[in-house]
Symmetry: C2
């Protein structure tokens, strides 16, 4: 089978690619070709795999060619992140809405030519939820909570959910929108996402670097490990349409924790000296955005697919440490550990 | 003040224009100029008013010029209807989604140049609601029912609601989405809307013509008279942001009636011979679409604005008859009355 991962150079995309290549199959079919598109080149280990084709450049510019290139399946992860969409409205509309529309139209054209609609998994986001004056946000938010996004990023993700729903209803694709919870611990450097600190307050102290938490310790949020996130994307792909249950977006599982719980887990796993590297300095822009995010989420539809949250936040930190150790040169990210 | 009505050549648009011109003011400000855009020319009585500018042509083609023409307020009613969007997917995307986006961008540009964002009332639709495998549709649907549109028309309306919400949050416009209930009795000829028969089964018998009802007499649906619909659009325009309550779409009031109730009312107002002109011949395409529409709706937010449903369906029929009598040549539409 031939697969496409958009955003394949990003952290989740690359991890998904590695997992798929290691499995060798998806939905019972052998993976022959895995195309990765992103603005940046994929990691070298992926490019070294003979099954991988790396295509660097904006997704929008690639969509015209995709109209005549049929794929069995697509994981559409490419996205501008929440912080940058809030700072640059037009960038978000172009990167998240227009590019998705162009991709859907390309898949429709390719599917109509080949007579076989592509399967598509779309990475939507917990950011579709928010409070509105007409409707206080429930806590936790559920699959069927009315989305009221309070950011351009959330609006664009929700609009894409509905486009995918209609392209699916029309038979142009077989699409499924999975709402990713905030992924933690992300490796590497802070990114433009307003949620970046949910990784930074673990990652930086473990690397021996001070980290600033821009929100109060009492802030609660639904989080998932990279491993659980990738597991969720694959399970959503492999689900039958009946098991996916309808065409509305589906929450992926999350562990709902406060910042203080995260730091307690950090202390449990790495000691009090590591925890002490986190300082609290409120950032009103970030704190204001986070205040409009869900404090927790449930994922009943995902549970029907056998998907469950991480067992504990300490487990998530241990997964991160194990990942660093397994990565060549990754020990540098753990310099802060005694 | 300077106002724009898109879809100003349509039935609701022209009725809104007449009502506004008769009032002479909106939101306490004198109406100096009323621009009507539509694919077809506005009715002659409107074009004869010195305040009216009639601009015929596709909305999309007019949006570039609108970027440098500031409006105090806009009623955005232009839309391809449900039936044609279902038959021609690309037409619906272009007419309902792309045109709305272009209009919003034009208003944003004009508002940024003038320093004053336009007020905008968008005619969304009860078609945003529907049943999904993950979520049976409640009956009646409320303002905060999770929309799960089962038609391209409904998807496009819902996407526009969210675009308008975000353009409003960003301060580009002051937008409000009002979900119109199915308008009955529409005068004139059947249109491409799948809901067209909700007017036809009253209008045709009153004109002395046989009418086919394509669904069972037990089908229930939320309906509103043209007068109540126009009243709702104006009240939503004049509401303060606080009174409108948030940025999510708002249901306009409806009377929730079965087809049999409608025909009982027709008999009450016009006699049994008129009612007997309605024949039942099921149309699977129409009946299938209608089965996914709400059987009824509530409108609590609209009630806070002082908006209430028509008192009875017989009242709606009497309004239609009075309107026909008040229209030059309109008596022809009542040839079926004894």
């Amino acid at each position: 089978m031939k697969l496409l991962i958009t955003g394949g150079g990003g952290f989740v995309g690359a991890r998904l690619a590695r997992t798929l290549l290691q499995r060798g199959q998806l939905d019972g079919k052998k993976i022959e070709t895995l195309v990765l598109t992103d603005q940046v080149a994929s990691p070298a280990d992926l490019r070294a795999d003979p099954r991988v084709q790396d295509r660097t450049g904006p997704l929008m510019a690639q969509c015209e060619a995709l109209r005549s290139e049929p794929f069995d399946g697509v994981f559409h992860l490419a996205s501008a992140v929440s912080g940058e969409c809030e700072l640059d409205f037009d960038l978000g509309m172009r990167s998240n809405l227009d590019s998705t529309r162009a991709l859907l139209e390309a898949l429709r054209a390719a599917g109509q030519a080949s007579g076989k609609p592509s399967k598509l998994v779309f990475s939507s986001s917990v950011a579709v939820f928010g409070p509105d004056a007409a409707l206080p946000m429930p806590s936790p938010v559920a699959d069927d909570t009315l989305p009221a996004p309070q950011s351009s990023y959330g609006i664009q993700k929700l609009i894409c959910e509905h486009l995918i729903s209609d392209f699916t209803r029309k038979g142009f694709i077989d699409g499924r929108a999975a709402r990713l919870m905030t992924v933690s611990v992300r490796p590497g450097r802070p990114n433009g996402a307003a949620s970046s600190f949910f990784s930074g307050i673990l990652r930086e102290p473990l690397a021996g670097v001070e980290s600033i938490c821009p929100v109060d310790a009492s802030v609660s949020h639904p989080l998932a490990s990279p491993g659980k996130t990738v597991e969720g994307l694959i399970a959503v792909y492999e689900a039958s349409r009946e098991a996916f249950l309808g065409r509305l977006g589906m929450n992926l599982p999350s562990i709902n924790v406060r910042v203080s719980d995260m730091l307690d887990a950090l202390e449990e796993v790495a000691g009090s000296a590591v925890r002490a590297r986190v300082k609290f300095v409120r950032d009103d822009r970030i704190a204001g955005m986070v205040a409009n995010w869900p404090a927790g989420a449930t994922a009943k539809r995902a549970a029907r697919l056998g998907l469950h949250p991480d067992a504990s936040f300490a487990d998530i930190i241990r997964q991160y440490i194990a990942d660093c150790k397994a990565t060549p040169g990754g020990e540098a990210a753990l310099k802060g550990l005694a």
